[in-house]
Subunit: 168 residues, 2 copies
């Protein structure tokens, strides 16, 4: 994945976070934040992050399986040489060719309002683009519809509506 | 995949179409129609089917890759001992645990209006259910929104809206 929009970190950071890692800029220049597809998740830390943004807890065993079968998993890390902290996350499912779908986009509340979510989507779309994905879709919560529209996402093109079916 | 809703075919049909195949009932009792995840697709025949329902043609090479990376592919076959004909199709992407998304649901126009599409969705949801999928999503074209609603799909739960991003 070669990002055309986000900065490449230093060699030592690339070693720690993977060659696909990219810097995430932020108003606080004391922080080093990076996107990575490689740095391993602690699933408890991931669920804590998702809980912090208000989502209900899910069994770790099922989350692990879901991540294994995801097309793309992106962590946003607050750099520390020993113990990086997970401050953002997104994942995609899909075939990676005709379709990909974005799920579980989260930035920790303490880090919101800094443009991190926008950079996260840039990273995700770059990664999907480099796979050759034609179309990316997502289901936007009411409070983030404008966030996505401002970034060039088309809301309900051709009158598409989304429908969900829940296992009983 | 054990369907609780669709009939199991005879042993000889199970041999031809796979143990996961199920019968699809139809008003014309001269026809034997079956759903199968196993019977192999001819990609040209698949694209002809999708064209017949009005979708634009896609490069066969990309379709092949997309199918390879799909979670579930279902063909609806008009039985013939030697040359079964593909009369319907659906596929899903997803992690199969937390999420799955249905794409490319098609029934050939000559076979529409027989409840085949509804049985197709029953087959798809049974198969996803047996994987343990919690939630299934899809993007409904305006003309099929009621089709899905009648089958118990929830339209835009919690105010979700769908958004698409297209590779430039």
């Amino acid at each position: 994945m070669i990002s055309s929009h986000l900065l490449v970190p230093t060699e030592s950071l690339l070693l720690q976070y993977g060659q696909d890692s990219r810097l995430c800029t932020c108003s606080n220049d004391q922080l080093t934040l990076l996107f990575s597809q490689t740095y391993p998740f602690d699933l408890v830390e991931l669920e804590q992050l998702l809980e912090a943004v208000g989502w209900s807890r899910r069994p770790v065993r099922r989350v692990r399986k879901a991540l294994t079968h995801s097309l793309l998993k992106v962590g946003l890390w607050r750099h520390d040489p020993r113990v990086p902290r997970l401050v953002g996350f997104a994942r995609c499912t899909g075939d990676g060719i005709l379709e990909a779908t974005v799920w579980d986009v989260a930035v920790h509340p303490l880090y919101q309002g800094n443009g991190l979510g926008k950079q996260m989507m840039t990273y995700v779309l770059d990664a999907l683009g480099s796979m050759g994905t034609e179309r990316v879709s997502l289901f936007a919560d009411p409070e983030v519809i404008h966030f996505y529209q401002r970034q060039g996402w088309e809301l309900e093109p051709e009158g598409h509506r989304c429908a969900f079916w829940y296992a009983s």
